[in-house]
Symmetry: C2
Subunit: 324 residues, 2 copies
Amino acid sequence: MSKIRIGIMGYGNLGRGVELACKKNPDMELVGIFTRRNPSDIKPQTCGLGVYSAKDAPDFRDKIDVMILCGGSATDLINQGPEFAQYFNTVDSFDTHAKIPEYFDKMDKVCKSANTTSIISVGWDPGMFSLLRVYSESVLPDGNTTTFWGPGVSQGHSDAIRRIDGVLNAKQYTIPIVAAIDAVRNGKGEGLTTRQKHLRDCYVVLRDGADKDKIEHEIKTMPNYFSDYDTTVHFISIEEFNKDHTGMAHGGFVVRSGNTSDSAHHTVEYSLKLDSNPEFTGSVLLTYARAAYRLKNSGAYSVLDVPPSMLSVKSPEELRKTLL
Amino acid sequence: MSKIRIGIMGYGNLGRGVELACKKNPDMELVGIFTRRNPSDIKPQTCGLGVYSAKDAPDFRDKIDVMILCGGSATDLINQGPEFAQYFNTVDSFDTHAKIPEYFDKMDKVCKSANTTSIISVGWDPGMFSLLRVYSESVLPDGNTTTFWGPGVSQGHSDAIRRIDGVLNAKQYTIPIVAAIDAVRNGKGEGLTTRQKHLRDCYVVLRDGADKDKIEHEIKTMPNYFSDYDTTVHFISIEEFNKDHTGMAHGGFVVRSGNTSDSAHHTVEYSLKLDSNPEFTGSVLLTYARAAYRLKNSGAYSVLDVPPSMLSVKSPEELRKTLL
């Protein structure tokens, strides 16, 4: 059996996660890493792996079956997606929720004209959690779905704190609130506010001479990021930060609670506990690369459009025999 | 929008569950119930609903989009599946694991020649749990999956006790063992024996003059059903049985624990807590009827072959906008 030839575009935490995932999937062959940085500055974890300039990627169109786009949504994917879909089947983790419909349409147009296949918004949310929301709502139409994130590190919220003047480093933990979880599990989750569902816990290292009170106030009142939540700010030393707050653990869960009749209530719950958000996300991206390679029709897809059997290294017959 | 016209073949607990589910899905229209009993003996929960003899079902081939087969696997579905797939798109809950590949092949042949679509082995296990096993193994290939059932009523084990001479009624509860659950969640579940994972708890009503000790021994040593488990037998009165042991609650969970690298361990868990096993299973069957109606190619399918978006009453655009 010939292997599925994989390219990685962008070599940050996520790109490294995809690289590690390739070692766990014997039907995959990692062809190379593509970067906008100077290729000689990149040291892959895989011995002997080629690193190439992003601008040379089109030369690899016959050597790579699926290019996995590992940039961020806001500034990278929005342009890289349509650009790379001209040459490659792609998988990406586009997660700017409000722009998903527009991004999907754009990718679909490019893919259909280039005869390529792209699966967008892959990971755990959007991704695995989206799947569970759709399955659960479909099988229990009379009910409510709630998604809890954490306990875990929010990269976006950590970045927002780091952009404040006087902050040297920062980590933000999103923590689901136990009382809300219990209410949701018991079918009493409707109407819970944002503040009732999650806490935000921040660990901040200040620069010399920074104004502690001003920064705490600025964090807690930051619109979109913190103002709708109960937020705790801890100021710590750089030593403590480096010792205790460099992890990338995350997770969360989707709960649907619903009724099939007046007397029968049901709860469906899906949870993830992840030691490393980028490694798990990278592994999910690689799994969907298998589907992008197998899907017969060109165009854009999301995880919702992909039959589960297309994700497995096992054949449909073997799946029916062993996992059904 | 024209509704999807549903028929129910077989009116036991599961058939009643599908009937209830029709009330929760506004895009579905229940056309009638089909039975091998005398139709006039059946009292549907739905006012004015037609009840027909199973042998007249072929006359309805142009009036029903999907026939949901609600019989048992062993004696009903094995014959009814291929018979009804000649005339209808079908959905069933075939769960005799060892015979799934053979049943699938037979259904696929009939469907392709009759130009119909059948989705087999639908419910929660096989069904939702199968989906989770495939998703979890695919995204975490280096790991272990364990399925726990219960706490809940096993119909098959309850039936097995009732077949013992001297037993008037019986209910068997399958109970997952907490120590095993903890081990699995911590990635230490490999090699757990059958006995270490589940207990079997039996509530038995004796006939007058039955030999208690002999029956207890017979239950605990019954091969396939009880001999591999730690089994507890409680003898109770018919009054206590009718008061406390008529429920059909069930549930369980699928846990996959795996690594993406030496330093990153992840746990994926999917759980169901169901007040009524047949009502939830009926609701899942009806959801897959929507997919059976929408699938373009004739043939047999399992839940593993169906894209999640086909299950939802929402359009793909709406799903991307609201649930992705």
